[in-house]
């Protein structure tokens, strides 16, 4: 059973009055992550919205020790921290329980510039949690395309809509044979909380990707952030799943879609609500381009359904 809202811990590691935009889904998610990890953790960030909004020197809006490091290196830097705490503990220079080491990185720092270091850290199975908060673009620099931007979406570097589908990043991480991979999104905080707790209690490399609908980048109304997250899941554009030691299981409501118990909502409603698809909807080939978006979603659903059957 998913942990209910009322059972979530009181503790707040994200402090009120930080510099994030109102309605920021990354901050929303990080609050839940904080409740699962607690204070005994070390946070690593690379340039992204969360760095821009965490407070300027000498002010800090999070209640963890944090390090902001070079964009390409979340994977390797996190390895440095986790090996350092482990050896210092072994040598008796650190007392108490080992802190959880976690990277909090945007989709650019995960899918694109940070991919090499992340892949290598996963291959080494170094002991930390890598969180990707995925707002499907370089939102911090003013919304440019990333490897996570879905086909058809407008960004400032895809002025007529992106022509390529996004990577299936969580699945790529799964193929690194790491002990835990999960996807989540802000509309399902209990699901996210449980996944982070599971990751915290699993030694080795963990990857959790959180879909974070950004109202600025996606161009919808700020109060609808959670609604948009929910629609992404109901349309099948975002699948909630986790894999423990390579065995995939789907979480509600994505499991219903995968099992065919409930059809995914047509993508149209989800797309129509986002300004980033506007130009595409107004183009003469709108119908075929929406069909392409739907095709990408269907293909991923079919692929993941079949991939989940492989458990060896």
């Amino acid at each position: 059973m998913t942990t209910s809202i009322k059972k979530l811990p009181d503790i707040e590691l994200v402090l009120s009055g930080n510099g994030a935009c109102g309605g920021c889904p990354a901050t929303m998610a990080l609050r839940i992550v904080g409740k699962a990890l607690g204070p005994n953790a070390i946070m690593l960030l690379t340039p992204s919205c969360s760095v821009a909004s965490m407070g300027m020197t000498p002010k800090l809006g999070y209640n963890w020790p944090c390090i902001n490091i070079t964009f390409a290196t979340a994977g390797s830097s996190s390895s440095g921290i986790t090996h350092a705490v482990e050896i210092m503990k072994e040598k008796g220079r650190l007392q108490g329980e080992l802190p959880t080491v976690f990277a909090w990185v945007g989709d650019g720092g995960t899918y694109d510039i940070g991919f090499q270091a992340l892949s290598a850290a996963a291959e080494r199975n170094d002991n930390f949690i890598f969180f990707c908060y995925n707002n499907e673009a370089y939102s911090n620099t003013g919304v440019q395309r990333s490897g996570a931007t879905p086909r058809g979406a407008f960004t400032t570097t895809t002025p007529t809509g992106k022509r390529q589908p996004k990577k299936n990043m969580a699945q790529l991480m799964l193929e690194h044979n790491i002990p835990y991979v999960a996807t989540a999104t802000v509309a399902y905080p209990g699901d996210l909380y449980d996944k982070v707790v599971k990751a915290k209690n699993t030694p080795g490399m963990k990857y959790i990707e959180i879909l974070a609908p950004c109202y600025l980048g996606w161009q919808f109304d700020m109060p609808d952030t959670v609604q948009m997250s929910r629609m992404a899941v109901r349309s099948g554009a975002w699948l909630l799943w986790e894999a423990e030691n390579g065995k995939i299981s789907f979480n509600n409501p994505s499991s219903l879609i995968i099992n065919g118990k409930k059809g995914a909502a047509p993508v149209d409603e989800y797309v129509m609500k986002q300004g980033r698809f506007n130009r595409l909807l107004k183009s003469p080939d709108a119908a075929s381009r929406i069909a392409e978006i739907q095709g990408d979603i269907n293909r991923t659903i079919d692929f993941m359904r079949e991939r989940a059957k492989i458990t060896i």
């Binding site: 809202i5 009322k6 979530l8 009181d10 707040e12 994200v14 402090l15 009120s16 009055g17 930080n18 510099g19 994030a20 935009c21 109102g22 309605g23 920021c24 889904p25 901050t27 929303m28 609050r31 839940i32 909004s53 965490m54 407070g55 300027m56 020197t57 000498p58 002010k59 800090l60 809006g61 999070y62 209640n63 802000v186 905080p189 700020m222 109060p223 609808d224 952030t225 959670v226 609604q227």
Partner: protein
């Protein structure tokens, strides 16, 4: 370990309001109708700013940015967004 650090290293320290009094960003303020509110805590869990008290369902307006997510998500319609003066 000595808990202080010399100023030559770029260190920051946790505090409320690291981004200032972010309540000043609001154009609309969420107002809770306590007659309708069931204290289900849904507003609390989705608040990105951690400004809602989960027991009393009161809002810290010093930092609330007025995003309105709480009002949209409230299942009983107990939160309304009122224009700031």
């Amino acid at each position: 370990m000595k808990s202080v650090t010399k100023a030559y290293r770029p260190i920051s320290w946790p505090m409320l309001g690291a981004g200032g009094d972010t309540g000043s960003w609001r154009t609309h303020r969420p107002v809770v109708d306590t007659q309708i509110c069931t204290k289900c805590q849904i507003c609390w869990v989705y608040c990105p700013e951690a400004v809602i008290d989960r027991k009393e369902i009161t809002i810290d307006y010093r930092y609330c940015k007025g995003c309105g997510v709480c009002a949209v998500e409230c299942p009983t319609g107990a939160i309304s967004m009122e224009k700031e003066e």
